[in-house]
Symmetry: C2
Amino acid sequence: MPRFFIAGTNILGGTAIMTGRDAEHVHVLRLRPGDDVILCDTEGSDYKCRIVKATKEEVEAEVIEVTPCKSEPSVKASVLCGLPKGSDKTDYIIQKSVEAGAFEICFFSSDRCVARLDEGGRAKKLERWNRISEEAAKQSGRGIIPEVRWIGDFTQCLDTAIKKDLSLFMYETGERESLDSALKGCREIKTAAIITGPEGGFAQFEADLAKVIGCRICSMGERILRCETAPIVALSALMFASGNLE
Amino acid sequence: MPRFFIAGTNILGGTAIMTGRDAEHVHVLRLRPGDDVILCDTEGSDYKCRIVKATKEEVEAEVIEVTPCKSEPSVKASVLCGLPKGSDKTDYIIQKSVEAGAFEICFFSSDRCVARLDEGGRAKKLERWNRISEEAAKQSGRGIIPEVRWIGDFTQCLDTAIKKDLSLFMYETGERESLDSALKGCREIKTAAIITGPEGGFAQFEADLAKVIGCRICSMGERILRCETAPIVALSALMFASGNLE
């Protein structure tokens, strides 16, 4: 059943009024009076609604049933990535992280980042990134729209990460613990951070800093993962280990 | 260190001669006499070699050291996918599966496949797909080049799968077991199959058939994964559970 998020929808006395892009989307999907849609309130409830009237500008639907949304993972996972070069990689990280269950996706700048996100173009990029997240959230049946954020430099990445119950720093060399060991007991945690680097990886001083501040420095085996693949593999492992791929 | 596969290379008495695309690649990377490369024999050994002479057509290198390749997972995972529509999805499945540690990637046709791979274009497609695998294998430091194969129809997919120690059939509805339960004890297995469907998923009769024949029918949670995302998430979970992300 097609899913929409409730932002931009008014629900008044059992009737939902959809306008703007959502109404257009209903039109594109050729949904007609009598067809059902799900409106998701992004706070844990799904509203099953039946369309009563539909034009390209406005859709009126009757609320039939309100049920708890079951698709949100028990752990809120923040995916924190060093900004990659090329928008195909950022787009890919966002889309796949949302499907795999991320709570939010944050980009930051680190020592080896080649790409820059200057202030001028930032708002436009963030708007596009958040639209990709919304589309992926709709399609994969998420109960929230994971926010895509720009969090500044590497220290701000660490500051975001250390507030979580568990924070995993993926690093390619040196002394590291296995993901298996770092994810022991993760069925109990409520929040987690997964930190991955840009194309060139992290500098040694960044890994050292992450360790001092309390991140778990983790290996993902002997294979070298691309910067857009690493967050998805790590997130999948976290979701599996925390009982959220069941 | 840049990695190459030994196919197309002659190693005679401690000297390696690289020709064709590999020699060109050395040229593109601007490697010069004195630089080191790794030649991988795709059977578990890495040859560390130092370049002696390099032209665009031929590279001569001296073997310095032979070491066992550590990057191959303990479980040979066959990723079996219903052929998706659009080459971006097949390319993506191949590249990411190779990075995540697949042993081979096989495409097949199933009831809801929209895409067709007619005999005329097949050889050309397979050649391109295997080149994507080779590039990803080089980049991620694999010890083998995972083969990309066309295995025909759904019965042939099942026939391939049931020969493995464990075969996982990812399905979206009905009675299924959790991946967690299906992957119990998977540190001991040598071979595994991961079966995922095309855009429209599998038909009920296909899931029934898979079950009868001995596949484990698995859920990956409440979120709906795209056909190109599901194999990567499942493969990551398998690699994690079998101790190959350490």
